[in-house]
C-alpha cells in the first residue's frame, strides 16, 4: 500500500460551498445521459450490448448454416476438429456442426433467458415492493420478512433448487433465475419508495390533497424506476452467467443439441485439451455479453448516483 502524500488529496474541491446544491430531477436525467456518453465504460458496454442484441435478433441472417446441421461430421476425427476456414469461420465442432452458426444462434437463447427471467423477476419483484412500499404497516412487515427469507438462501443455490425441482427445460431455467431476482427487486423498489415518500415533493403533493394512490403512481413510482433500470441491466448480466452455471450442473434446456452458450461451454470441457477453442468461444461470448450489461449498469449507477458524482 502506498503511503500517500496527503490522504485527503482525492477529496473533491475542498468542501467548498460553491458545489453541491440540490438539482431538479429533469436536470439530473439529462445530466446523467451526458455523463454516460462521456464515460468510456458506458460506451463499451453499450456497444457490446448492441452487438449481442443485434446478433440475437438477426441470427438467421448472420449464421451461414443451421445450428444443428451436422453435415460436416465426416471431416471430424477424435481430438482433431477442423479450425477456422472460409466456409466455417470458427471451425467445426466434434459433432460436425458449424461453430460460428451455433455461437450466433446461442445469442438468441442467452438473450431469451436473460430478458424473460428479468421481465418476470422484475415485474413480480416490483409488484411486491410496490405493495409493501405503498401500504406500509403490517403488509410491509410481512412482505419484507418474506423477502428477507428468500434472500437468506444464496442466489445460485436458490436457482439450483428451483431448476432441480422443475426439471430439465428452458422454462424452468428462466423461472429459476426469475425467482432469484424477485426479492432483489422487491427490496430495491420498496427502499426507493420509502425514501421517495419522505421526499419534499411527495409531502408537497400530499399537502395539496392528492390521493395516496395518485401520489404513488404519478410521483413515487416513476421516480423509483431509475434504480430499477440500473438493477435490471445488472440482472441481465447475472442471468446470462447464472444460466451458464446451471447448464454446467446439467440444468438447462431439454434439447442438448440446442445452441446454448452455457451448454456449449460445458460440453466443450470434454475436449478442453485437444480443442480449447471450443470452450473459449462460448466462454468469451458469455463474458462479453455479461460484461456489456455490467459495464452499462455500473456506469448508469454511477451517472445517476448524486453521491458518486465528482
Amino acid at each position: 500500500m502506498s503511503t500517500p502524500e496527503q490522504v485527503a488529496a482525492t477529496r473533491p474541491t475542498g468542501g467548498d460551498e460553491a458545489i453541491g446544491s440540490p438539482r431538479p430531477t429533469r436536470g439530473l436525467r439529462s445530466d446523467a445521459l451526458r455523463r454516460l456518453r462521456r464515460n468510456p465504460m458506458a460506451v463499451v458496454g453499450f456497444t457490446l450490448i448492441l452487438i449481442f442484441v443485434g446478433v440475437a435478433v438477426f441470427a438467421p441472417w448472420i449464421a451461414p448454416y443451421s445450428p444443428k446441421d451436422n453435415s460436416w461430421l465426416s471431416e471430424v476425427r477424435p481430438g482433431a476438429y477442423p479450425g477456422p476456414s472460409a466456409e466455417h469461420w470458427l471451425g467445426i465442432d466434434p459433432l460436425g456442426r458449424d461453430v460460428f452458426s451455433r455461437l450466433v444462434y446461442g445469442a438468441r437463447q442467452s438473450l431469451l433467458i436473460g430478458v424473460v427471467s428479468l421481465a418476470v423477476g422484475a415485474t413480480v419483484g416490483v409488484g411486491i415492493g410496490l405493495l409493501a412500499g405503498a401500504f406500509g404497516g403490517w403488509v410491509d412487515t410481512v412482505v419484507m420478512r418474506l423477502v428477507d427469507i428468500m434472500l437468506s438462501v444464496p442466489g445460485l443455490l436458490f436457482a439450483i433448487a428451483i431448476a432441480a425441482m422443475l426439471g430439465q427445460s428452458l422454462t424452468s431455467v428462466m423461472i429459476a433465475i426469475a425467482v432469484v431476482n424477485i426479492p432483489i427487486f422487491a427490496r430495491l423498489l420498496r427502499g426507493e419508495m420509502l425514501g421517495q415518500r419522505a421526499a419534499d415533493y411527495v409531502l408537497a403533493a400530499r399537502s395539496l390533497g392528492i390521493s395516496r394512490a395518485g401520489i404513488v403512481f404519478r410521483h413515487v413510482l416513476p421516480n423509483s424506476f431509475t434504480p430499477v433500470i440500473v438493477q435490471g441491466t445488472l440482472t441481465l448480466a447475472l442471468a446470462i452467467v447464472e444460466a451458464a452455471g446451471l447448464a454446467f450442473l446439467g440444468l438447462s434446456g431439454s434439447d442438448p443439441s440446442a445452441p446454448e452458450w452455457g451448454r456449449m461451454l460445458t460440453d466443450a470441457q470434454v475436449a478442453l485439451t485437444s480443442a480449447p477453442q471450443l470452450a473459449l468461444y462460448p466462454g468469451l461470448a458469455i463474458v462479453l455479453a455479461a460484461l456489456g450489461f455490467t459495464l452499462l449498469g455500473e456506469s448508469l449507477r454511477e451517472a445517476l448516483d448524486p453521491k458518486l458524482r465528482r
Partner: protein, 552 residues
C-alpha cells in the same frame, strides 16, 4: 448426536489404520513419500459403494474388491479361462449337483483368521440366508443370477427357487457345495467378485446391516466400509470417501507378496479430469479414455484396449405405433450415420455394428451387410411409409459413460440430427443412468427410440441376443414367433454346430426385422502411466493389480 459419533469413529478408524500400518512394518513419517515404496494410483470414476462383495455389482466396487478378496476359482489374466484360486482343484459329480473344492492351505485372512472350509461355507450360507432388503435385486444381483433364490423368500422380486442346496466343510480344507439342479454357468459365475470369500470374523464384527428405502441403499454395517478382510494380494488400510482408498501389499499373500507396495484409488468423476491428473502424474492409470484424449495420453503414457465384447444400439420400442411400421424402422436404419459418428467420436478400434452380436462371438453372421448411411433412401422410405406424424421420443442416459458409449449425449445429438434431416421430429428425453434410465427403459418400457447397449458377461450368443429378444421384454416389446421360436430352440440345442447355424440365422432375422439399429462394437480404453508394466486388460473388466508393477 450423530455428528459426535462420527467424530469418534474417525478417530477409531485412524487408530486402526495406524495399527495396521505398524503391523505391516510400515514405519516412518505418515505423509511423506517413501521413495522406495511402489505406489500405484488408479483414477476411478467414483468411490466403491461398499467393499462387502456380496452387496455390489458395479465396476468401481468390483475393481477394489477384486484386489482385496479372492474367489474359489479365478480367471487367467486377460482371458475368460477359469483357473484355480482359493480352490487348488475341484471335482464335479456326474449329476452336476455336487462340487468338491480342495482349498489352499496355510492361507490367512488379513485379520489373521485362518482360511478354511468353514470360512467358505460361512460365506455361502450367509448369501443363501439373505433376508428382507438383502434379497433386493440390486443388492444380491449376482447371487440371484447364478444361484437363484434364498432360504426364505421375502421379496416378490426374488427368484422362487434356489439352485443352492448346501455347503459343507467335509474336511478342514475341503468344501463341498451341493446344488438342487445342475448349472453349466456355475464355475464361470464363481469367478465374479461377488462370490469373494471374506473373513467370517470381519463379517461378524463389522456387521452387515443394510436398509433399502426406495432407490437408496444404506450400507450401515461396518463390514465393507470400516472392517475389511479377505485373502487377496492387497489389504484394506483406509477409505476417505471422495478422496482416496488405500490398500497395502499383503506381506503374507499365498502367491508371494505383490510387487506393488500400495494401491490407491482416487475418485475423479470426469474423464477429462482423470486425463489431466494422469498428465500431472497424480494418478498412474484410469479407465474410460475419451477418443479425443488418446494422443494426449500417449504423450505421457500408454493406452491399452480391452477386447470388444459389447454392442451399442438404438432400440425401437414396438409398443410405439410409428415404430411398428417397418418402413419407418428401415428409414431410421438408413438415416443414422453410424460410420461417421464412429470415425468422429470413437477410438479407432471401434467397429460399426450391424447385428446385436460382437464379431468375436460365435454365432456372428458375417454374411450380413447393409443399412449403410443413405439419407436419400431414408427419406424415400419415410415417404413410402405413409406416416404423417413423424414425432418420436428419443431417450438417452445422462452423465454416464458406458464401454460401448463413452458419451451418450454426443451419440444422441449426432443421431437426432441425422433423423431430423430425413424428416423426423425428435423429442429428447434424458434421465440419470442408474437407476432411473435402466428402470424407465428396461422395466417400464417408456422408451420409444432409445440408446442402450450390452457388455457380455460370458461367451455365449444367448447372453446377447437371447437377453434382448428371447422373451418379450419391456424395452423392445418385440413379439415375433419366428425370432423368439428360433432363439428358444437354439438355447435348448446341444449340438454346437447346429446352435451356431441357428444363431447366424436368427441374426439375419433380427437384421431384417429391425427391432433396433446396432451401431458399435467398441474397444474400451485404459490409460496407463509410462512406467506401469504388467497391466493385463480383461474382456470382462476384471484386472489383477497383483501382476502390475511400477518400473524405475
Amino acid at each position: 448426536m450423530r455428528v459426535y459419533g462420527r467424530f469418534g469413529r474417525i478417530i477409531a478408524l485412524s487408530a486402526t489404520a495406524g495399527l495396521l500400518a505398524a503391523a505391516a512394518g510400515c514405519s516412518g513419517s505418515d505423509s511423506t513419500e517413501d521413495g522406495d515404496r511402489k505406489t500405484f494410483v488408479f483414477g476411478a470414476s467414483d468411490d466403491p459403494k461398499t467393499l462387502d462383495p456380496a452387496y455390489v455389482s458395479d465396476g468401481e466396487s468390483f475393481r477394489v474388491i477384486f484386489q482385496v478378496y479372492e474367489t474359489l476359482v479365478a480367471l487367467k489374466p486377460g482371458t475368460t479361462e477359469v483357473v484355480p484360486s482359493l480352490a487348488t482343484d475341484w471335482t464335479v459329480s456326474d449329476d452336476g449337483l455336487t462340487y468338491t473344492f480342495n482349498l489352499a492351505k496355510g492361507v490367512t485372512f488379513h485379520d489373521g483368521e485362518a482360511f478354511n472350509a468353514t470360512a467358505v461355507c460361512y460365506n455361502f450360507d450367509r448369501w443363501y440366508n439373505f433376508k428382507g432388503a438383502q434379497q433386493n435385486g440390486d443388492i444380491s444381483y449376482y447371487w440371484q443370477t447364478i444361484f437363484g433364490g434364498f432360504a426364505t423368500r421375502d421379496s416378490d422380486s426374488a427368484p422362487e427357487s434356489s439352485r443352492y442346496a448346501s455347503c459343507e466343510a467335509t474336511e478342514d480344507s475341503v468344501a463341498t457345495l451341493r446344488l438342487t439342479q445342475p448349472s453349466s454357468a456355475l464355475l464361470s459365475g464363481l469367478v465374479l467378485p461377488a462370490f469373494s470369500i471374506a473373513s467370517p470374523k470381519a463379517i461378524e464384527e463389522g456387521g452387515t446391516d443394510i436398509t433399502v428405502t426406495g432407490d437408496s441403499i444404506a450400507y450401515s454395517g461396518g463390514f465393507g466400509t470400516k472392517v475389511v478382510a479377505g485373502t487377496g494380494p492387497f489389504k484394506f488400510v483406509s477409505w476417505d470417501r471422495g478422496e482416496r482408498l488405500i490398500l497395502d501389499a499383503n506381506e503374507n499373500y499365498r502367491e508371494g507378496r505383490p510387487q506393488l507396495d500400495q494401491v490407491i484409488f482416487r475418485p475423479i468423476a470426469d474423464a477429462t479430469a482423470r486425463m489431466q491428473a494422469l498428465q500431472a502424474g497424480e494418478i498412474d492409470a484410469y479407465e474410460g479414455v475419451a477418443a479425443a484424449d488418446i494422443e494426449a495420453v500417449k504423450n505421457v503414457g500408454q493406452v491399452v484396449e480391452r477386447p470388444a465384447f459389447n454392442v451399442g444400439y438404438v432400440g425401437m420400442n414396438q409398443k410405439v405405433p410409428l415404430l411398428q411400421n417397418r418402413k419407418i424402422r428401415e428409414a431410421i436404419a438408413y438415416a443414422l450415420n453410424r460410420e461417421g459418428l464412429l470415425k468422429a467420436a470413437y477410438p479407432e478400434g471401434a467397429e460399426v455394428a450391424n447385428q446385436f452380436l460382437p464379431p468375436s462371438q460365435w454365432g456372428y453372421n458375417s454374411a450380413i451387410t447393409g443399412y449403410s448411411y443413405d439419407p436419400e433412401r431414408a427419406r424415400q422410405l419415410v415417404a413410402e411409409s405413409g406416416e404423417t406424424n413423424l414425432t418420436v421420443e428419443f431417450w438417452y442416459p445422462a452423465n454416464v459413460s458406458r464401454p460401448y458409449m463413452p458419451n451418450p449425449q454426443a451419440v444422441y445429438e449426432s443421431f437426432a440430427a441425422d433423423l431430423e434431416k430425413v424428416g423426423f421430429t425428435v423429442v429428447p428425453k434424458t434421465v440419470p443412468w442408474t437407476p432411473d434410465y435402466l428402470q424407465s427403459i428396461q422395466a417400464d418400457g417408456k422408451g420409444q427410440l432409445f440408446l442402450l447397449g450390452w457388455s457380455g458377461d460370458y461367451a455365449d450368443p444367448d447372453n446377447f441376443v437371447g437377453t434382448f429378444f428371447r422373451e418379450t421384454t419391456a424395452q423392445f416389446n418385440l413379439t415375433d414367433p419366428g425370432i423368439q421360436g428360433l432363439l428358444n430352440r437354439a438355447l435348448a440345442e446341444t449340438d454346437q454346430a447346429t446352435r451356431q447355424k441357428q444363431y447366424e440365422e436368427v441374426n439375419q432375422l433380427i437384421f431384417d426385422y429391425i427391432p433396433g439399429v446396432p451401431f458399435v462394437h467398441n474397444r474400451p480404453l485404459l490409460a496407463l502411466g509410462k512406467n506401469v508394466v504388467g497391466y493385463q486388460p480383461s474382456p470382462v473388466s476384471l484386472e489383477y493389480f497383483k501382476i502390475v508393477n511400477i518400473e524405475g
